[in-house]
């Protein structure tokens, strides 16, 4: 009787583990690799269990996004291989909304990124030009009261612009975080 119970236990387990293995095989692809598990290698007639990277890790490896910057430009990179999927920067759209469209939270942050990046770029550039004009007027010994006002106003605009560009990068970081979070697992 005990052996029957044991047999039934094994049968139940093997049927279900068989089902779960075939489900894994649907998604495992060619990366499946056999790894001898500790504690089972000395057991005779027991097939070595096949362990594979989980679906979530595979999906993340292939599809998760990150960003890197280079001379004020943003590069959006996909996956462990580092595939470049978008570039952006001053007044240039990264098309981030399209990239992260599958995740509602990421999409909201992407809109925030694009809004703040455009405003910051615009006001920062206007501020920098205004400051330079003010400096040139001051250097030419102009006694106009406008020169200090231009410099102060310009610096203020640059600070505002940089702050907004900074905020846009935070929104970009959150957008990619949410996108990666919502990758199918």
């Amino acid at each position: 009787m005990t052996s029957r119970v044991f047999l039934a236990l094994v049968a139940g387990a093997s049927i279900l583990s068989g089902a779960s293995t075939s489900a894994d095989a649907q998604t495992a692809g060619e990366n499946t690799r056999a790894v001898p598990a500790a504690g089972t290698s000395n057991v005779p007639n027991v097939p070595e269990p096949v362990t594979a990277p989980t679906d979530s890790a595979r999906s993340y490896d292939a599809r998760a996004l990150r960003f890197e910057s280079s001379l004020g430009n943003v590069r959006i990179i996909r996956g462990a291989d580092g595939q470049l999927v978008g570039t952006g920067g001053w007044f240039r759209d990264t098309e981030l909304e399209k990239l992260v469209a599958t995740s509602p939270n990421a999409l909201a942050q992407a809109r925030l990124y694009e809004k703040n990046n455009f405003r910051g770029s615009l006001v920062g550039t206007v501020g920098a030009v205004t400051s330079v004009v003010g400096l040139v007027l001051t250097t030419n010994s102009s006694n106009s009261a406008a020169s200090p006002a231009l410099i102060i106003g310009g610096v203020g605009a640059v600070v505002w612009g940089v702050q907004h560009v900074n905020m846009s990068y935070s929104a970009l970081s959150r957008a990619l975080w949410w996108y990666n979070r919502d990758l199918p697992r």
Partner: protein
């Protein structure tokens, strides 16, 4: 017969422990995944959907990022690149700004050799470019480090 049924159920229950892991992974990412956020000139390493601030990086101060991302080997390797480049990059860029200030000051002195402000300006530009490049490398390595850390959370 009922014993057989019970044993089948126990076998099934033991084997079906797996799907609970997926839920744990979701929670794991929501609670533990890192990202970078900028705030008033500093960069913060933030954890989870709640946005708990774990570390601040600004000026000449940084944190041991390798310790934060410790379970992941590749994340730690990138964190070491960050640590290697960030502090030297900050100092060199800071020196470049100071040299630029000296160049502007020197250029306003009437009877100074013109080669001095020119030399200072060129040095400042070189220091700023080199220091800026090191800082950029550092931040990109930090971004990769966090990517790898989050990737290994999903395993």
């Amino acid at each position: 017969m009922s014993r057989l049924l019970l044993a089948l159920c126990v076998g099934a229950h033991l084997t079906l422990g797996g799907p609970a892991v997926l839920t744990a992974q979701d929670g794991n990412y929501d609670e533990n995944a890192l990202r970078l956020e900028g705030h008033n000139g500093d960069v913060r390493i933030v954890r989870g959907a709640q946005g708990t601030v774990l570390a601040r990086i600004s000026g000449f101060r940084t944190t041991d990022v390798a310790k934060l991302v410790a379970p992941s080997e590749q994340a730690m390797a990138e964190a070491r690149i960050f640590s290697h480049d960030y502090i030297p990059g900050s100092w060199i860029a800071g020196l470049g700004i100071a040299t630029l200030g000296a160049a502007i000051g020197a250029s306003r002195i009437d009877d100074i050799n013109r080669a001095i402000p020119a030399g200072l300006t060129i040095s400042a530009a070189a220091l700023l470019i080199y220091g800026g490049g090191r800082l950029q490398n550092a931040y990109n390595a930090l971004a990769r480090s966090i990517w790898w850390y989050n990737r290994d959370l999903t395993k």
